[in-house]
């Protein structure tokens, strides 16, 4: 399926969020996820399904003022 990851389109196989994040190369705990602009708590990853055209945001700490 075709999805948007951090604003860029790409193809992905997995539609379960934990599997998709692994497929995309994310590991560890220093990131957080939003799907279509809504925050998805880590505890809900296993129950979250990603569909064609969904927008995924994966963020991590950066410096800020």
């Amino acid at each position: 399926m075709e999805i948007q990851v951090n604003g860029e389109s790409r193809r992905a196989e997995r539609n379960d969020l934990p599997g998709l994040l692994r497929e995309l190369g994310y590991s560890g705990e220093t990131f957080a996820v939003a799907v279509n602009g809504d925050f998805v708590p880590r505890a809900q990853y296993p129950d979250t399904r990603i569909a064609e055209g969904d927008h995924l945001d994966v963020v991590a700490p950066v410096v800020g003022g």
């Binding site: 220093t30 957080a32 602009g37 800020g64 003022g65």
Partner: protein, 267 residues
């Protein structure tokens, strides 16, 4: 007057909060934060590809620093964006403290008062300790208090400008009308003298980033700000003299030599 800064029930010795951005290097950032004496530092979240490791490196430093974290929602233009980013921050940084920013204008990064109040209301309901970056408008500030903010962070001037306290009348009004609310000047401070002035005015603390990070010698500037803020706070506690328009001699006039009652030059 309490010697410590109290925010949401927590006490701090330092009245300087600093940002972590724009430093020439991570090493200079760390040294500057240390020299500033800050106990609260701001940071943010941005999109990250899996191969990038900055997020983890920054996170490791932050844990070592022992500082309280104040994640921001910089760049968010709607309550929806700010609320989503706030939730992501709470999960990653494991704190419900939040520097809430809802920007209403790209040119001067002015806080959007309507979006800010709406986002603050929702975030307070969700259990966040919201420190809103706001304008210096008394009625907006009151609304933010009404929806549950316990600390306000009015701007001195637009972010990154270094213009200092642009609207002293409004800032003084806020201080006088909200005497029991912790007020932090956030943004626009360019020089230690401006930070000292805010503290002399009775502000509880100052949050800044660019003025230290973009100094030619950031570590030295961090020290300068620490001293200025201590100085301004001390001056406020001591009570400034009243200003007057006419001169008043400080040296005693009584028993002035050469003075003659009949001398026309002295009359």
């Amino acid at each position: 007057m309490s010697a410590k800064l109290e925010l949401y029930g927590e006490r701090f010795d330092s009245r300087l909060l600093v940002g972590t951005a724009l430093y020439p290097s991570p090493a200079i950032m760390r040294e500057s934060v240390r020299e500033s004496g800050a106990e609260i530092i701001t940071l943010s979240l941005r999109r990250q590809n899996p191969e990038q490791q900055q997020g983890k490196m920054l996170w490791d430093y932050i844990r070592e620093s022992g500082c309280r974290l104040l994640p921001n929602t910089a760049g968010c233009k709607t309550p929806r964006e700010a609320i989503a980013l706030a939730e992501m921050s709470r999960e990653i940084f494991r704190t419900n403290w939040l520097k809430l920013e809802v920007v209403g204008d790209d040119y001067n990064l002015q806080p959007d008062p309507y979006g800010l109040v709406e986002a603050a209301r929702e975030l307070v309901e969700r259990g966040f300790k919201v420190l809103p970056y706001c304008t210096d408008d008394l009625l907006v500030c009151r609304k933010l208090l009404d929806v549950g903010c316990e600390v306000l962070m009015p701007w001195g001037a637009p972010i990154g400008t270094g213009l200092g306290l642009l609207n002293r009348y409004n800032l003084r009004t806020l201080r006088e009308r909200l005497p029991d609310t912790p007020l932090i000047i956030d943004a626009g401070i360019g020089a230690p003298s401006q930070a000292a002035e805010a503290m002399e005015m009775g502000y509880d603390a100052v949050l800044l980033n660019t003025a230290i990070a973009r100094a030619q010698e950031p570590v030295q500037m961090a020290r300068a700000f620490r001293l200025a803020i201590e100085s301004g706070r001390s001056a406020h506690a001591a009570g400034l003299m009243l200003q007057r328009q006419t001169a008043s001699p400080s040296t005693p006039t009584l028993d002035m030599p050469f003075w003659q009652q009949s001398d026309p030059a002295t009359q």
